[in-house]
Structure formats: C-alpha cells, structure tokens
Symmetry: C2
Subunit: 131 residues, 2 copies
DNA sequence: AAGTGAGTTGCGAAAAATTCGCATTTACTG
DNA sequence: CAGTAAATGCGAATTTTTCGCAACTCACTT
C-alpha cells in the first residue's frame, strides 16, 4: 500500500490525513508481524503514546486494523486488516510463528451470514521441536 | 468436562487441585463464550483477583486455556483450549457473535509443521445487517 | 495565499488492568 | 497427621490505557 492509497483510505473513512496516521499505517503495512501499541510508539518518534492509542482506536473503529493476541506471547497486538490474510502457525514448544500460504477457507459458506474476511491460526509443533 | 476430569487434568500438569482452580475451570467449561478476567473474578466469589490472574497464567502456561480478543469487543478474553473448536462468525455491523459448526480445516497440512489445533474466526454481515 | 473551524495532537494526570511481595493457608507425600 | 512445597489473600506497586484541555493542523473557503 503506497502513501496515495493510505491517503484515500483515510479520507474515505472521514479521517483527516495527518503525518502521525500515515506513519502508523506505514509501520503496520511494512511489519511482518502484528505489533503492540508500545512497539508502534517506539517506531513513531515524536508522537505521544496517547496519540498512538487514539489513532489505533480510530483505525479499529473503521475496521482498518484488527486487535489480536498471539498465543504464548504476552500483550495485545495490532495489524492491518488487509494483512490479516497472512495466516500463521504457532509452535507450542518454541513459540515461534511461521507464516503460511495455505488458506482452506476458499469456498466456505455459512447460512445466514455473508463472509467478508477471516482469521486462521494453526497450533502445533515445528520441525525442530517435533524431534 | 466433569470434576473428576478436571482433577486429572490439573494433576497431569503438576498443578495442585484447589477449589479456586476447579471453580475457574468449571466456569470456563460452562461458559458459552470467552470471558474476561474480571468476569471470571465476579463468578468466583471469595477468590482474590490476583489469584484469578495467577490461575489463568498457569492454565495458559499449560495450554489449558487460551487468551484471545474478540473483534469489535473491548478487553482480553479467556476460554478453554478445548472449547476453542467452537468457531464463530462476527458481524461487523451489529458486533454479534454466531457460533458455527463448519470446520474447513479438516485435511489441512503444512510443510514442516505438525498441526494439533487451530482457531478460526469469520468476519462479515449477519442476515439482519445485510438488509 | 490568508482565514476559519472541526478534528487532532501533546502533555500530564487519572483510571483501569495486571503483577508482585510476603505472611498465612492448603494440598499432597510418606 | 506432620512436613513441605505450592497456592492464596491482601494490599501495594507497576504497567497499560484513557481522559481533559490547551495548542496545533488539516481541509475547505474566500
């Protein structure tokens, strides 16, 4: 996602396009894993922690980001809803995450429900820990 | 899950079988949705809040419970890992949860990874809100 | 380009959530 | 049923998140 698209995204939600918001979107966009509020704050120098929380709240409200926990990790994490489709497998022994490509949800349907997105986590043991 | 099974579960993990722990397992077992630490505390009269947190920590450590967030709801929730297979669909408009039976994960395999469990959430719109 | 106003931010303080220390109690072992 | 390690209660400390308010900035208008 480029700056232009972020700009449009914010405007289409009725949110002003500030440099703090662009910065946080940028960070979430380039992250290869969900981040905590504290981590995001560290990566946005000059931005107040309370502002980070307020921006995240707005983005949550607009369904642009999603809040999540990671099994066996502490804290609350945020990630772009758009990135959410990067599913992952979590090793119960070493606690490492492994991103996976597969998506078994393709043709899934649920009665009386229109599916627009989903989240999948697999638990188990990585090759190293199985030994 | 009956009291006997909970007893065995705790013992097999090397955890002492206290009435506080049984009470919390009981609560989680009969809950039809994930609960917050505060909710669990309210349902275990006479137990200190710090004890609730300590018990939940132990249960997390032993993979008996799982910590989770619920999209569009505030707070952190706990549920039995065993209950986790009750997948749900979340309406992005009215924020209601709908438990679903389907599980498209059946024969899924991932290279270099032994799958032992999973978690699936579907997002979208319920029949009411689609209108 | 300067003017305007709603929405945003920074800062510190307040509130809420979680963890910790320590004295006391409890569950399991022999 | 005595001994011991583990668990609990209580309150205080710490961490996380929210809030109030003055100052600032974006987007829109002349």
């Amino acid at each position: 996602m480029g700056v232009m698209e972020m700009n449009e995204l914010l405007q289409s939600c009725g949110l002003k396009c500030t440099k703090q918001r662009l910065c946080i979107l940028e960070i979430l966009n380039s992250a290869d894993k969900p981040l905590t509020a504290e981590e995001i704050h560290t990566l946005t120098p000059g931005t107040a922690l309370s502002t980070v929380y307020r921006i995240l709240d707005k983005l949550l409200e607009k369904n642009i980001v999603i809040k999540t926990t990671i099994p066996l990790s502490d804290g609350i994490f945020y990630e772009l809803t758009a990135n959410e489709h990067k599913h992952f497998a979590i090793c119960l022994a070493c606690h490492k995450l492994k991103y996976i490509d597969i998506c078994p949800i393709h043709n899934t349907t649920v009665s009386d429900f229109t599916i627009t997105g989903h989240k999948l986590e697999l638990y188990g043991y990585c090759r190293e820990c199985v030994k």
